[in-house]
Point group: C2
Chain length 174, copies 2
DNA sequence: GCCCGACATGTCAACAGTGGAATGTAGGCT
DNA sequence: AGCCTACATTCCACTGTTGACATGTCGGGC
C-alpha cells in the first residue's frame, strides 16, 4: 500500500487539493508510481479519517486543500526508514523468456531483438527527459535525478542483456 | 493477466494437475511470476471453460490432470509474439528515493547503503542458485539460464546505482 | 451576457492478487 | 489396524488498481 505514502510524501512538501495531487503524480511520479483519480480521492478520504491528513482550507468549486498532520509526517518517516523484505518482482518480460522454446528460433530471436529495441527506445525517452527538465537544486529535483539515473542504467542493462541473450540462443542452437 | 499465460506455458510442456502446477510455479517461476493456490485453481476452471485447457485424465483423490488444447497453444503463441506496450513499472524503491529529503542526510545515506546491501545479497542468492541447479539442456533450463542472467545483471546494476547515489548525495550536500 | 475549458470531486463495477481456512483422500510406515 | 504425510480441491473475504462515468463550478475571452 504505497500509494498512501506517495501522497504523504507529496503533501509533506506543501498542501494540495486532490486535483493538484493528480497533476503532481502525472508529472513527477508517473514513471514510478502512477495513480488514478478514483484512487487518489478515495485515499484522501481514508487518510483524513485516519488523522494523517487534514483539510487545511476550502476554496471555490468545492476545492479542499489537504495538509499533512504531525501524525502523517511520523508515518512517512516510519515508512521511509522501515526495513522491508525484498518484494517479489513480477516480470512479464522474463515470463515470456521462460516459454521462448514454444516459438521457432527465428521468432524467439526476433522477440529478444524487439526487447533490446524497446529498452533502447525507453533509454532515449529518458535522455530526452533529462535534457528537458530544468534541474534546479530543490529536493525533488535532486531526488528525481537519482531516480532518472536508475532508469537510464536499467534500460542500458536490459538492452545489453537482450543482445547477449540473442547470442546465447544462437550458441545453443548449434 | 499473465497468470493464465504462465499456466498455458507450463502445461504446453506436459499435462499436470493443479497441485503439480503449484509445485512447478514454486520451483521454476517463483522469482518471476509467483502464484497462489486460489489463483491457480480458479484460473484452471476458467481456462477449461474457455476451451484453452481440457481435463485429460482423472486420478485418485479427485485429481484432475489438465492438458493444453490446440486453441490453448494458439493463444500461448499469440501472447508470446504479440507486441505489447511497455507496462509501467511501479517501484517502491524509487518512490522512497523521491522522498529521501524528508530524512536526515545520515538516514538517507543509510537507506541507500541498505539498498546496495540488499541488491548484493540477492545477487549472492542468485549465484547460489546458479551453482545448485543442474543445468541440463532441456528448453526450460536454457530459458531459465537467460532469466537468471537477467537477475544477476539487474542486481549488479542496483548495487552500483545505490553506491553511486550515495556519492551523489554527498556531493550536493557540500 | 454567455460559453468553453480548466478546475474539482465523487461513485461504481470489475479484475488481479493475497492469505487463510475447510475439507477430504490415498499411500506408506509402524 | 492406525496414523501421518503428501496429495488435491474449493471457497471466502479483503486490498489494490483500473477505467468509465457522473456531476458540478469558476474565470476569462468574445
Amino acid at each position: 500500500m504505497s500509494l498512501r505514502h506517495a501522497m504523504l510524501g507529496l503533501l509533506a512538501d506543501r498542501p494540495a487539493s486532490g486535483y493538484d495531487l493528480m497533476k503532481r503524480f502525472e508529472t513527477s511520479l508517473s514513471n514510478v508510481w502512477p495513480a488514478t483519480q478514483s484512487q487518489v480521492y478515495g485515499e484522501l478520504g481514508k487518510l483524513t479519517k485516519a488523522g494523517l491528513l487534514e483539510v487545511a482550507a476550502e476554496g471555490p468549486r468545492g476545492r479542499k486543500e489537504y495538509a499533512i498532520t504531525d501524525e502523517g509526517r511520523a508515518e512517512l518517516r516510519r515508512w521511509l526508514t522501515e526495513a522491508k523484505p525484498d518484494p517479489v518482482r513480477r516480470s512479464e518480460v522474463l515470463l515470456r523468456v521462460f516459454f521462448l522454446n514454444h516459438l521457432t528460433p527465428v521468432e524467439a530471436t526476433a522477440y529478444l531483438m524487439g526487447e533490446a529495441e524497446r529498452a533502447a527506445g525507453q533509454h532515449r525517452v529518458l535522455e530526452e527527459v533529462e535534457r528537458n527538465v530544468d534541474w534546479g537544486d530543490d529536493p525533488l529535483s535532486v531526488n528525481g535525478r537519482l531516480a532518472l539515473e536508475y532508469g537510464l542504467r536499467f534500460m542500458a542493462m536490459r538492452e545489453e542483456w537482450a543482445r547477449w541473450a540473442v547470442e546465447e540462443l544462437g550458441k545453443t542452437r548449434k
